[in-house]
Symmetry: C2
DNA sequence: TTGTAGGCGTTATCAA
DNA sequence: TTGATAACGCCTACAA
């Protein structure tokens, strides 16, 4: 008689391991994952051997389900190719790895609607924490919906952490943007620059506004009032920095220094200056914020304010402690 | 009489939604996730309204568990701050997003042991596919274990894709490194360079070896035999490129061109040349592979071979089709 | 079109 | 220390 053997799923389950090891399901579970290790050594060995023999792999979704949650961290970033966010992500993953956690990641591409969407997706995964790294805009249309999701997540026992977004009512890792701006202004003023120009980025971006505010404060203190026409709005990316700078050069602005509200923009501005044949730093200095990795290779050197991005990504708890630090300039002459 | 209200988990379940909507569990399930939409419009509306009212969020682990798997993609990369991998990741996430999938990510930090570990972690998540982006080394000690895991994963119905690692017996997205090397050699020879030096990276790295082989071929064809002493081994990172170049300069090598096996190293070499006051590209040209984003801002410009990284990350199926393309040089004089 | 009921793999409770 | 067994939240035949 030919019996049809049911096409058992090729992946063995804990049940298979238990049977193979000659113990109960409970014992197998405890041996492989149990926290309170109250399993006799010899049966532990049996179970492990059986698991090995069968090529057993824990079914994490099932486990998370049974436990009512996982230990994963869901990280929401704007754009993973932006060194700023890559550094944060690297920090988070390094930390998670050493904690035996998994990092799930979603990108928003700087679109608030997609951000909301990613948070919904994140919530569905039932992670231990949702970490938001991005930047809020001023008229924040999706804010209510976002807070609704996040509050519900916290109500369910989840943890929410906002990196660099102090306007969110959750645990946060914050950067003192205004303070960094003041420091940077003081530093460049100390280097002798007198006619600064500020590439301010988008007016709606809080991070950009705070940095500009800090710069204005700092220059003011140094006796260099920053009039409104010296602060130019524009986009927040590399190409935006290049375009804005190019426009300014074409318009014939006078300045001995350009400060962009982030390094990426500063690098763009550098390209525009190079193209226009304006000597840096002789005829014009260039400065930015963040001290991202590529800034190190910007030639000529950039003056930049360092932000502890990797640390931010790897910070576990997060009292609203402002962190900032400045960094000296590279090898360029006046910096 | 005071009754203790059981502390119900704050997150409502599908069961709660069904009750709230006055329908059965099955109907609620079908209305919210069902594929074959055979739910009457009015009850569909009732369910959606109830879900909205309760702030219901699907329990993805439970769903994945019940369905016996998820649609997620697990991406394993060496280092997310490396623009090379960031580009691949961005491509994968973009694609996944438009497919309504989630990307789980793990980093190996170029450590084979950690890679094996990440693959195990990946398998536990029961994703639809595991995508490996990295580079294999030659004496590949973990290979057997790795293949064991991946084979088991495929046996369980999963899909494995290797990006840029043709030695793995799975679906792959491959780059024609040797071809790129030939192209690059031909291009720079055409620009008039005659005394090339190659920063070859680690001898164990297959990707590096193939590129070097292509370069040697190409130079040979151009009548510029590449003797062994013109090919210098070293690390694969930016700092390695800088260090190797610095050593070479100190040793007084003669050359009119340096070709690094990747842009990151080339950028490092550029830093060493700048430091040593060697004019680029007048006294020495610099070339690399990958055409990563920061290369665009390398000053002076780099000659580089473009690789379709984002496309690679977003490629769904993957016949072993080799893809390559070259790119012209930037604004520098001789390139 | 809707509801009932069994099952998915693991954990956790409670006896033995 | 171990073993039954009942959840856990959702999906899906199967029946109604």
């Amino acid at each position: 008689m030919l019996r049809i053997v049911p096409a058992r799923p090729a992946t063995p389950t804990l049940y298979d391991v238990a049977r193979e090891a000659g113990v109960s399901l409970a014992t197998a579970s405890r041996a492989l994952n149990g926290s309170a290790r109250r399993v006799r050594e010899d049966s532990r060995v049996k179970v492990l051997a059986a698991a090995e023999r069968l090529g057993y792999s824990t079914n994490a979704p099932a486990q998370a389900f049974a436990r009512g949650g996982s230990t994963s961290i869901f990280l929401v970033v704007s754009d993973i190719t932006d060194p700023f966010f890559a550094a944060i992500a690297a920090g988070a993953m390094r930390r998670a790895g050493s904690d035996g956690r998994l990092v799930l990641m979603g990108v928003t591409e700087r679109d608030p609607a997609r951000e909301l969407d990613m948070v919904r997706t994140a919530r569905r995964q039932r992670p231990a924490a949702i970490v938001l790294a991005g930047s809020r805009r001023h008229p924040d249309r999706t804010r209510a919906a976002l807070l609704g999701e996040l509050d519900a997540f916290e109500a369910g026992g989840g943890r929410v952490v906002a990196i660099g977004q102090d306007s969110l009512p959750y645990a946060r890792v914050s950067f003192d943007h205004a303070g960094s701006g003041r420091d940077l202004a003081a530093a460049v003023a100390g280097l002798g620059y007198r006619r600064p120009l500020v590439l301010a980025g988008p007016a709606e971006l809080q991070i950009a506004r705070e940095r500009v505010r800090g710069l204005a404060d700092g220059f003011e203190t140094a006796g260099i009032p920053l009039s409104g026409d010296r602060v130019v709005s524009g986009g927040f990316g590399r190409d935006d920095g290049e375009a804005t700078m190019r426009d300014l050069l074409r318009a014939g602005v006078e300045a001995d220094l350009v400060v962009a509200v982030n390094d990426v923009m500063a690098i763009g501005a550098l390209a525009a200056l190079r193209e226009a044949g304006v000597g840096v730093p002789d005829r014009m200095g260039v400065a930015g914020f963040d001290d991202i990795a590529p800034s190190r290779d910007a030639a000529p050197a950039l003056t930049t304010v360092r932000l502890p991005l990797e640390e931010a990504g790897s910070t576990r708890s997060s009292s609203p402690s402002a962190t900032r630090s400045t960094r000296g300039c590279g090898s360029a002459r006046r910096c």
